[in-house]
């Protein structure tokens, strides 16, 4: 028999008259019945198991003879009156949508800022914020260490009991704690900016520079007593908001001016997983009537 007679398109007809299939056999049912009786004997009477073993043996022997040396086959004749109807070619046309075409929903953002921009922006914003805070310390309390110590109150609860005089002094531990915390959080916020700024509608600088700091200040206001009681007692809210705005404007500026990079969002999953090299077109299908 040639390959042409055995393989073809689905539903295609063959020149053969018969097709080889496994022959019917009742030994599997005999074997199954024997196994069941073997177990049933445990529940009833040993003789049932004994009979079960005999039936099992007959089934096993018959099955063995079905498959060894060669598996039994039978030839089933092809009945011309039971042939499938030919597959009908459909005339309806189909539009294959391509990513990026008009009316094709794109996942946003299509372009993002690099994470490095976020780190740089965070550091810059943090520096601006720190400078303003120190300026406030110098003006209001005549010490640039005053705001530093207050910030350190987040991680050093003992500072909550310190006097204003003590807070004006330079202290190494709180300085290091405040420095690490400030830099760390600044970088984190900067990276968040880089990640979410492209998702905002227009006027990213407004969002990053004004609305986000205000939002952040509002969030801080009710919980500050819990996380930093020392700061809460002494805080000057106008200055706090101004410092936040400084961070937002500077950080947002640095993030926004970075070069944009394209995301993989609009590519098919296989390409994103690096299973395929990028192709020219990607598609989803949809019937159009």
């Amino acid at each position: 028999m040639s390959i042409e007679d055995q393989h073809g398109e689905a539903g295609e007809r063959t020149q053969q008259t018969h097709i080889q299939l496994p022959a019917p056999t009742f030994f599997p049912i005999v074997f199954a019945f024997g196994v069941t009786l073997l177990f049933a004997g445990l529940l009833t009477f040993w003789l049932v198991s004994f009979i079960g073993f005999l039936v099992f043996f007959v089934g096993a022997l018959g099955w063995w003879r079905n498959v060894i040396p060669h598996e039994d086959h039978e030839l089933v004749s092809i009945e011309p009156e039971h042939r499938p109807a030919p597959v009908m070619v459909e005339t309806r046309s189909v539009v294959r949508l391509r990513a990026g075409e008009q009316a094709h929903r794109m996942r946003i953002p299509i372009e993002v800022h690099p994470y490095t921009a976020g780190i740089v922006g965070g550091l810059a914003g943090g520096a601006a914020m720190a400078a303003l805070a120190c300026l406030y310390g110098l003006v209001a309390e005549h010490s640039i260490w005053y705001p530093v110590n207050l910030l350190a109150g987040v991680v050093i609860p003992g500072l909550g009991h310190a006097t204003t005089e003590q807070l004006r002094q330079f202290m190494a531990g709180p300085f290091i704690a405040a420095l690490i915390g400030h830099i760390g959080i600044s970088i984190l916020v900067g990276v968040v900016y880089a990640a979410i700024l492209p998702m905002f509608p227009k006027y990213a600088p407004l969002w990053a520079g004004v609305l986000m700091p205000l939002f952040w200040s509002g969030l801080t206001y009710p919980v500050l007593d819990i996380i930093n009681p020392a700061l809460n007692r002494r805080i000057s809210w106008p200055w706090f908001v101004i410092c936040q705005l400084a961070f937002g404007l500077v950080g947002g500026f640095f993030v926004a001016r970075s070069t944009h990079i394209k995301t993989l969002q609009s590519l098919p999953m296989a390409e994103r997983a690096a299973l395929h090299y990028p192709t020219e077109q990607t598609s989803t299908t949809k019937d159009v009537h």
Partner: protein
């Protein structure tokens, strides 16, 4: 013994002179995957009716406070046999039946990889079911009055130990399930071997229909989940027959070990049960939305993820046992984790419908019903995954409501969708659409009327498995409406049975491809000939029939 022989030349199919004996021989000796698939599905539906009648008796007993419809002992047997039957004799044969009938057709093969093993698997499953039901006659040994197992479908130790469970009823439970489990394992190995080895040329794994993918992972889950149950049941039998001490708490054994072993099986099992519904939805929804499935790789990935994560969530059935808080946290977290791939599937089915030309035929209605009901089931599942929440509601009717939402409303909806969808392929005739819609709407009303009230009864403190209850606890209304719902479900299923029987005999001829399908089973006749395809097909994309129907715009240009 060698005298046992069988006719080598069978009478030709369809000739008039076929008597009863020829028909019997044709079905009993068959190794044809389609006949075995039909037998699996039909026997599963028979067991559905039996266990459904049990459920009706249970619901009647609970309809009113202080009910005495059945005796307390009988009640215990009823809920045990209802659960055992639904899981092992309805769910498992449906897995085997659907994969048997459809997998070879969908991958373009002539039969399963091991046709004789396939026949053996079906028969030993059926005999295992008979063995379990024989306990009604022989549960206390042949000489006593019959008693079916009464230890719950999960048969917690030490209740199952000899001093607490006399007679053989628990042995029937263990042995019946071990025997039918052999068939399940055989069929799972067969599906895997068929899928890997008998794919037609061009049917790569990435082009394989979603149905086959899901059944492949389902078979994998069967292979790793069933042995722990079999092992636990062997240990239980050793305890009961030979006096071993596995679960004997007085001699150092651990009753909690049984729970671990049972649920190591038991939780993957619920995924094993729900996977056929996932498989069916992944075929039916695209066809009735006229769009290819959304996010195919993610769908496959989600199934594979479930196939592994679900192996590590079992102890969320045991929060009330008193595990360490680390164990509780781990299993709570893993349980929520397994909700993620399930969520992916729900989203992708919905996205497949989005923007498609949705055709609300009965199969599609059942799919939509599945999506909503199963979503609720998943949400209550996440609630129960929170250990403190579970402590409050453990073993209450809330849990009963939850898992009936997953199985009775999830699995059964999916199964009905499949049964309607492939009915024309299996019988060659079309079902009655009007009756199908009646079935669907009555069933939706029935299941929700039954199982939503169970949640409320559970929150109000009603424990599960209780025989009856007193008036004045606020449970009466919920229990009564659950009973009403159960009877509505019964009417719906009766309509279905009538629809099937009537349409199979007198329905309109359906034609080969009534749904304008895309997978290979629609390329052959309805019902398919024994050899499935005259020529084994060659495929080039995941929608081979689409390619043939649209020669100028085939899928393979884009894949």
């Amino acid at each position: 013994m060698a005298s046992i022989d069988y006719p080598l030349e069978r009478p030709k199919v369809g000739t008039k002179d076929w008597g009863f004996a020829e028909h019997m021989y044709d079905w009993v000796a068959t190794v044809d995957h389609k006949k075995l698939g039909i037998m699996y599905i039909v026997s599963a539906l028979l067991f559905l009716v039996i266990a459904g009648i049990m459920a009706l008796v249970i619901r009647t007993q609970l309809a009113l406070p202080n009910g005495h419809v059945v005796a307390p002992d009988t009640y215990n047997r009823l809920f045990t046999m209802h659960g055992t039957t639904m899981v092992f004799l309805l769910g498992m044969p449906l897995v085997a039946g659907f994969s048997n009938y459809l997998v070879p057709l969908m991958i373009g093969a002539r039969d399963m990889a091991f046709p004789r093993l396939n026949a053996f698997g079906f028969w030993i499953f059926l005999f295992g079911g008979f063995l379990l039901y024989f306990s009604y006659l022989g549960g206390s040994g042949l000489y006593g009055a019959g008693s079916a197992p009464d230890v719950g479908w999960f048969a917690y130790a030490p209740l199952t130990e000899k001093p607490f469970s006399l007679g053989h009823s628990t042995d029937y439970w263990a042995l019946g399930i071990i025997v039918s489990g052999i068939g399940t394992i055989a069929s799972a190995i067969n599906v895997i071997a068929t899928t890997f080895s008998l794919r037609c040329p061009g049917m790569t794994l990435s082009r394989m229909p979603m149905f086959v993918w899901v059944m492949l992972i389902d078979s994998w889950l069967i292979l790793v989940a069933f042995p722990p149950l079999t092992a636990a049941q062997i240990m239980l039998l050793l305890d009961r027959y030979l006096g071993a001490n596995f679960f004997y708490t007085q001699r150092g054994g651990s009753a909690v070990l049984w729970q671990h072993l049972f649920w190591i099986f038991g939780h993957p099992e619920v995924y094993i049960l729900i996977f056929p519904a996932f498989a069916i939805l992944s075929e039916v929804i695209p066809i009735f939305s006229r769009k290819p499935i959304f996010g195919r790789p993610a769908m496959v990935g989600a199934v594979v993820a479930i196939g592994f994560i679900s192996l590590g969530v079992w102890a969320h059935h045991m929060f009330a046992v008193g595990m360490t808080s680390y164990a509780n946290s781990f299993f709570a977290a893993s349980t929520m984790l397994v909700g993620i791939p399930t969520g992916i599937k729900i989203f992708n089915w919905t996205a497949t419908m989005y923007g498609g030309k949705v055709n609300l035929k009965t199969p599609m209605l059942f799919c939509c019903g599945f999506l909503l009901q199963f979503l609720i089931a998943g949400l209550t599942g996440i609630m129960l995954a929170i250990a403190p929440f579970d402590w409050q509601l453990h073993d209450s009717y809330f849990v009963v409501g939850h898992f009936h939402f997953t199985l009775a409303e999830g699995l059964v909806f999916g199964i009905f969708a499949g049964l309607y969808y492939w009915f024309p392929k299996i019988t060659g005739r079309m079902y009655n659409e009007k009756l199908g819609k009646w079935h669907f709407w009555l069933f939706v009303i029935g299941v929700n009327l039954t199982f939503i009230p169970m949640h409320f009864a559970g929150i109000l403190g009603m424990p599960r498995r209780i025989y009856t209850y007193q008036a004045g606890r606020g449970w009466e209304f919920w229990q009564f409406s659950a009973t009403i719902g159960a009877y509505i479900q019964a009417i719906a299923v009766a309509i279905y049975v009538w629809n099937v029987v009537h349409s199979a005999i007198k329905g309109e001829p359906a034609g080969d491809d009534p749904w304008d399908g895309w997978t290979l089973e629609w390329a052959t006749t309805s019902p398919p000939p024994e050899y499935n395809f005259e020529k084994l097909p060659v495929v080039r994309s995941s929608r081979p029939l689409w390619d043939l129907k649209h020669p100028h715009d085939p899928d393979w240009k884009y894949e």
